[in-house]
Amino acid sequence: MDKLLTISGSPHIHADESVKKIMYSVIYALIPAMLVSLYFFGLDALRVIAVSVIACVVVEYLIQKYLIKGDLTINDGSAIVTGVLLAFNVPSNLPTWIIIVGAVVAIGIAKMAFGGLGKNPFNPALVGRVFLLISFPVQMTSWPVPKPLFAKALTDAVTGPTPLGALKDELKKGDTVQQIMDHGIKFIENGKEVVYHIPSYMDSFFGDMGGSLGEMSAIALLIGAAYMLFKKVITWEIPTAYIGSVVIFTGILWLIDPSHYINPVYHLLFGGLILGAFFMATDMVSSPMTRMGMIVFGLGCGIITVVIRLWGGYPEGVSFAILIMNAFVPLINQSFKPVRFGKVEKKK
């Protein structure tokens, strides 16, 4: 062993922290939602998650080994996080090859092309998801109706709409919210007429509704979020500002005209808002660095989400909102500096 002493600048101790620990904390936080998805979608969910994670890790490995020829960082778990989040953002019946395409886009284009972990301006999982949503709109928006493992299916339908999508379509036809809630939505599947009911608060809280794998159960996601907050992997600013602004914005509209704008609680529970606000908008790499910046970022996400949901072309706006705000992060970092100690007021 080397007998020489070491010299370096202070500090000489380091907190018990590493990128790996942070990434694995996120993975642990995603487990409850993962279990819920397994419960509702069974093996299909397992397939999507496994394919997505493996594809993400393999793509990162191949790129680092053969294209960049740099240090391998697949051990740090960031590719796994991207994989799980990508899987959470797609329907459970998505063909395997489409998932792999999504993984290649997420890791290859959104992450590694910018220089790997820490350099990507956009959240890789969301880039992958949005790419798939635009390229394969049919596959990406046919949502299988959840079939709990040990319970009978509530309807005969195989696929159904997501609540927000259904509501948006019906509202366009001129119905009021109350009518839709009372009578459900009729549509034809395999020659049979099927009635789709907007899920109750309780159902949506526990995740019994149509949608992407991970976005369904609010309770499972909140458990994970609480774990991340406890572990200090995320801070409260972005989720609070994001969810708060969505609730306030939609709440105001709802109070003005409850027959054409739905209850803010539905906005909160549907459409992956909780998944987005806690797990994707808070992505360290692509979110702002200062407290004020984070709040502004959250507010921006919230407003864009509502605008897309109510007046845009898509029923759900979370992915787009976060990606759009990601683009503003450098600007936000420039404009919102932390409160400096002993700030001298300029007298001029």
Binding site: L5, P11, H12, E17, G118, V339, F341, V344
Partner: protein, 443 residues
């Protein structure tokens, strides 16, 4: 419980030596006394090779407004004047004395009797401090008599005695408070008189309940001195953070603490002031903690200035086999030393011995922009950004991002999950920007 608001971290305290009473260290065979032991101009030697010196005799005279006298810590013959490796990592001018015995200069009271009555006037006290070479013993070694001279137009309101010792491992101030509590409070009273203030606050972190209790009890007999328990948070021992914690005032960026009407002195300094003023004793010895995972027997020593630290390590159970790093000071702000021949100086508060394994830094990875460094910075800076700007040598922007406000506490680098050398770069930036500012001043 009081504390400062912005940022801060809480590293493991590891105060192994808090139970070890202060031991008097035997004299070294040969003492190495650097002429630069304080902030400011090096002292000018007044003795030559071959001269006989007595303990407490003046050997180097203050050579500027910000400078301090240095006295011989031992009795013996000046062997030579040479360059000696010191905490700066460079060899610098030092006096080497062959130690014969311990014969004190006349007029110095070496007894343990406590002298409570303060007979000197304000001016005499400040003069005595300058004469006895008192400097801040918390680490910055700023000459204390200069601090006492409140600039015109400013008034001092509070004296703050810093007993925080927020650095992990170190216990020298803790032990001093327990064993020399009364002397410290007399020292504080003297400092109050020198400053002309009525109120003094002693700040102690509440991981030292015994010291808080002890000093609170003693403080009842001293007019105007109050003892405050503070929540444990690093870097509370920083001057600006301590003022904020105790008074809620913020030192404006680029200004001195006196702007808030506060003057901060370490408990060690208060003790040294007591000895200088009441006992006529120059600053030639101090309490040094020897500790760390590699230290066989963590201890607190009363060591003479000029003692090679190898001797301290020897007395703390011997030189460890697994020694990886020797640090002068605490683990957060201390300086790694080149070897164990470096002598104890006025600013040496501790010697931290680290094992091979723990002395290696963690591997550096990409910044993942987690913003933890921003969150923990007690000065409200953006360490990640400063480090980036320095790496790209953008000095102007580095200056605009307030790099000079950095107090080099190391919280950012401590907490960085990617193990980035943030403070190293920021320190480099401070150095470069400092140069630029100085050259601008000349023009």
């Amino acid at each position: 419980m009081k504390t400062f608001k912005l940022g801060g971290v809480h590293p493991p305290e590891n105060k192994f030596s808090s139970g070890a009473a202060i031991e008097k260290l035997p004299l070294p065979k040969r003492a190495f006394i650097p002429v630069t032991q304080h902030l400011g101009a090096p002292a000018a030697l007044v003795v030559n090779r071959g001269d006989e010196v007595k303990t407490g005799q003046l050997i180097a005279k203050s050579s500027g407004f910000i400078s301090a006298n240095i006295h011989s810590p031992v009795t013996g013959k000046v062997f030579k004047v040479d360059n000696v490796m010191d905490v700066s990592g460079y060899k610098r001018k030092a006096l080497i004395i062959d130690v014969a015995e311990d014969d004190w200069e006349e007029g110095i009271d070496t007894s343990d009797d406590i002298v409570r009555e303060i007979t000197l006037t304000k001016e005499q006290i400040i003069e005595r401090m300058a004469e006895m070479g008192i400097v801040g013993l918390g680490g910055a070694t700023f000459p204390t008599h200069v601090k006492m001279m409140v600039p015109k137009g400013k008034t001092a309101e509070y004296l703050i005695i810093n007993g925080v010792e927020c650095e992990p491992y170190l216990t020298s101030d803790h032990r001093l408070m327990l064993e020399k509590g009364e002397e410290i409070l007399i020292g504080a009273t003297i400092l109050m008189k020198a400053l002309g203030v009525e109120k003094a606050m002693v700040g102690i972190e509440n991981n030292k309940p015994d010291a808080i209790e002890h000093l609170s009890k003693l403080a009842k007999e001293f007019k105007g001195i109050t003892v405050h328990a503070l929540k444990v948070k690093y870097p509370q021992g920083g001057e600006k953070q301590l003022i904020k914690a105790l008074t809620g005032r913020e030192v404006p960026s680029g200004k001195l603490p006196i702007e808030t009407g506060c003057v901060v002195d370490n408990v060690g300094t208060a003790y040294a002031v007591y000895e200088a003023v009441q006992k006529n004793k120059p600053l030639i010895e101090r309490v040094v903690t020897v500790t760390g995972h590699a230290a066989k027997q963590p201890s607190n020593f009363l060591a003479r200035v000029g003692t090679p630290i190898a001797q301290l390590i020897e007395h703390a159970g011997g030189m460890p086999e697994d020694l990886g790093k020797v640090i002068g000071g605490g683990p957060m702000m201390g300086k790694a030393l080149m070897n164990t021949e470096v002598p104890v100086v006025k600013g040496t508060s501790g010697i931290l011995l680290m094992q091979k394994e723990e002395s290696k830094r963690v591997a550096v990875k990409n910044c993942i922009r987690c913003s933890r460094c921003v969150g923990v910075c007690p000065m409200g800076l953006e360490p990640f950004l400063l480090a980036q700007l320095v790496e790209h040598q953008l000095w102007e922007r580095t200056e605009n991002e307030k790099v000079m406000d950095c107090i080099e506490c190391g919280s950012c680098q401590y907490t960085c999950p990617s193990g980035r050398p943030l403070l190293d770069y920021i320190r480099l930036g401070k150095f470069k920007v400092g140069q630029i500012i100085r050259s601008r001043g000349k023009k």
